[in-house]
């Protein structure tokens, strides 16, 4: 700088160079407390242009809190944020958007009654003469956008008719349509399959190439090593470290996230000739799945693997009685299960961890304790009266067992971090003492440490002579926990393979 003071043109050049080299976003010392309980202390992140920056951390580490602060959705107690060297303090998402920052939040919030196109352009609809919404133009733009991204979502469908995965794709498309400089993605892939993830990654590479930057949160570490250039780790609301992803390996990252080394679970083999716990005989339901017969033996974990839309969720929900089948029967312990009645299924010893915790898993406005106790209230009640002490003891035990991180069992579930919410669903299911646990994407949004805990738990649960039926879109996960794997293709059971001998490549080949 000093040298160039005399020569004006050169000076400008150097200034410009410096500006380009300067990080796009610098956040330092970010702190936030909720009701006096600190959620984040000294949160920091330095984001460079043209990079994907992975923000890593366990459940409740403060990632979403941090990102919501950057986006102006929450207000920080302390700290500073600079974008292009200019201090900013956004008061709303709209203000952040105007400054080129956009977010896909962890908890999606579509407008259920509106179409896909309307959702994407919500609040910035193209208008004719500034008054009337130009629907044809909006649809064309939306179609262009989705086609560019290669997302397969029907444009004119209403959001409430879409699957969770499709909703997530729409939210991704919406965020990318802003052509923002900084794209924040808080677990964008928690609900979508491997195929869609690759489409998304291609889009991210294009965004990177035009000089924008992405903050990326995911508990799927494989993804992070595939897409991220840099990383930052938070743990228990504190900044831990950051650096280039090429400089570290998976083990190092896991250890930083969890705070200690973790062991992966080894699965034993179930007993030969164990009695059949669940038998599904030629079950069909309309267009969703046809003629599926599988069994789960006592002590066995049966994995179900398939692409999105292969009818896996519908199949589980039908076994559990949320839907009535159009044909076929379900037997538990050799006795027929009443179709279409979850209550009866629970009484017979089934429990289900549903796919979408927000929609079907939790009563968000109710407390943690009330959610955990919900399914088993009747078990512990005396002539209709809740036994509060027994209930408190049971919920406390569950919260300790599953390490649910919360200020108190009486806070509303909606204030928990995503992963902790998922644990609450698990806890609720287990309190009914099920013999068959049905899990639809059981580790969605759960951190690496807790994932291994859940795998260990599922294996242990099966080893006690119970059965587990689990759907997952993650091949490594299915392989790690299943004794046998049923591969679904377009609503049909393609084949059942041995979980001990199959490799990841074989599995993905079979499903596609």
């Amino acid at each position: 700088m000093l040298l160039s003071t005399g020569a004006d043109p050169e000076g400008r050049d150097e200034d410009a160079f410096e500006a380009r080299d300067e990080p796009l976003l610098v956040a330092e010392g970010i702190a936030k407390s909720f009701n006096g309980v600190p959620a984040l202390r000294g949160g920091r992140l330095v984001l460079k242009r043209g990079t994907v920056h992975a923000l890593c951390g366990g459940n409740g580490a403060g990632k979403s809190t941090f990102l919501n602060i950057v986006m102006g959705l929450l207000h920080r107690d302390e700290g500073s944020i600079r974008i292009d060297g200019v201090p900013v303090d956004f008061r709303s998402a709209a203000e952040a958007l105007r400054h080129g920052v956009t977010i896909i939040t962890q908890e999606l919030s579509p407008v259920p009654e509106m179409t896909v196109a309307e959702n994407i352009y919500l609040g910035r609809e193209p208008k004719i003469g500034g008054l009337v919404v130009d629907f044809p133009k909006m649809r064309r733009a939306a179609k262009q956008l989705l086609d560019d991204l290669e997302f397969d979502v029907p444009l004119t469908a209403r959001m409430r008719d879409l699957s969770l995965a499709q909703i997530q794709l729409v939210e991704i498309a919406k965020a990318l349509s802003h052509r923002a400089d900084i794209v924040i993605m808080d677990e964008p892939t928690s609900a979508i399959g491997e195929h869609e993830v690759h489409i998304l990654f291609n889009a991210l590479k294009r965004i990177k190439a035009r000089g924008s930057a992405i903050i990326y949160v995911s508990h799927k570490l494989t993804e992070i090593f595939e897409i991220a250039d840099e990383y930052t780790v938070f743990r228990d609301g504190r900044y831990i470290e950051s650096g280039a992803i090429s400089a570290i390996d998976r083990n190092h990252l896991v250890t930083q996230i969890v705070g200690h080394e973790i062991k992966t679970v080894e699965k034993g083999r179930p007993n030969e000739g164990a009695p059949i716990l669940l038998e599904v005989r030629s079950l069909s339901r309309g267009p969703h799945f046809k003629n599926i017969s599988v069994t789960v033996a006592a002590g066995e974990v049966l994995g179900i693997y398939g692409l999105l839309g292969s009818g896996r969720t519908e199949f589980l929900e039908t076994i559990y009685g949320i839907h009535a089948p159009t044909a076929g029967d379900v037997f538990l312990d050799g006795k027929k299960v009443d179709p279409g009645n979850p209550k009866k299924c629970i009484q017979r010893g089934m429990a289900m961890v549903p796919e979408d915790r927000k929609e079907t898993g939790l009563v968000l406005c109710a407390s943690i304790a009330h959610n955990i106790a919900l399914s088993s209230l009747a078990l512990r009640a005396v002539s209709g009266f809740v036994r509060r002490k027994a209930e408190a003891a049971a919920t406390d035990q569950m919260m300790r067992l599953h390490r649910i991180k919360a200020a108190s069992p009486n806070v509303a579930v909606e204030t928990l971090s995503g992963g902790n919410q998922q644990k609450v669903v698990f806890a609720r299911c287990l309190l009914t003492n099920p013999r068959l646990l049905i899990c639809d994407e059981p580790t969605r949004g759960i951190d690496e440490g807790s994932k291994q805990e859940i795998y260990a738990f599922l294996r242990e649960f099966a080893a006690k002579g119970n059965g587990v039926l689990v759907v997952s879109s993650e091949a490594p996960e299915i392989l790690q926990i299943s004794d046998r794997i049923a591969v679904f293709r377009q609503g049909r059971l393609d084949r059942v393979v041995d979980g001990h001998e199959t490799t990841q490549q074989m599995l993905t080949d079979l499903a596609s």
Partner: protein, 327 residues
Amino acid sequence: MVANIISNVATGARSKGIAAVGPYLKSFSIVIVFVVISAFFAVANEYFMTWLNWVNLLRQSSINGVLAIGVTFVILTKGIDLSVGSVMALAGMIAASLVTSTNQQFVLWAILGGLGTGAALGLLNGVIVTSFNVPPFVATLGMLSMARGLTLIFSEGRPIPNLSESFRWIGGGSVAGVPVPVLILFLVFAIGWVVLSYTTFGRYVYAVGGNDKAARTSGISTRSVIASTYVISGLLAGLAGLVLTSRTTAALPQAGIGYELDAIAAVVIGGTSLAGGRGSLVGTLFGALIIGTINNGMDLMGVSSYYQQLLKGAIIVVAVMLDQFRK
């Protein structure tokens, strides 16, 4: 059981800590609104703070209170019951006809007839809402008109006077200086509060209102829970109809017109969310008391009933606005 509940309340209050203050603060704020309004009228009119006036005020609030408690159950499940005013008229009419057509000993039958009418209409509401998927607003709007029509048909548009002494005790009598309607209100409140806070059914009501899909996945028969809340609402409307008929000493075909609005207002002022899943009977009770206080206070000050309407509406909106603001 009672001792058990009391000890539960005590331990609950101790172990809950900071996080649980929220709901208490909420019911606390409605108490403050109540106190402020009362203080205003106390300053404005010296008669307001007398024992006699408070007994009177409570009696005036009791019918709306009973209705509002029933409606709270429905609103907690994300529903609405617009039919309570008409249902209470029909229940009162049926009870009055039973009283006048039979002899004194049959007062019990009249009471059962009134309550049964309310519960039956409530059940019909519940079935229409849950089994035929008619939106609660529409189903109960239909019932509002149908029950009124039935009342007019049944009475041929004429009042039924000359009710027996013992029947008139329900609305006009008192025990140890406390009017019977007030006792009924507090009894209903106590039972309702225990049901909502201490029974599995109460929990289910909150869960269904908070997220009915999750409740169903958790093994709750959401339909029967929802239908039950309409039965409760109808039953309490029947009870309110008995009290009203007894107090006016005649069953009037136009009785209870517009009562549903005051009942819903009491629930909303009391902080129960129309979106379901959140709210309490303590709030509703104070909501009903606030409406009663406003009516009573303005009567005492000689405000014309035209202005009363205007002011009452404004106060309702402001009370809820303050509540939102505080959140």
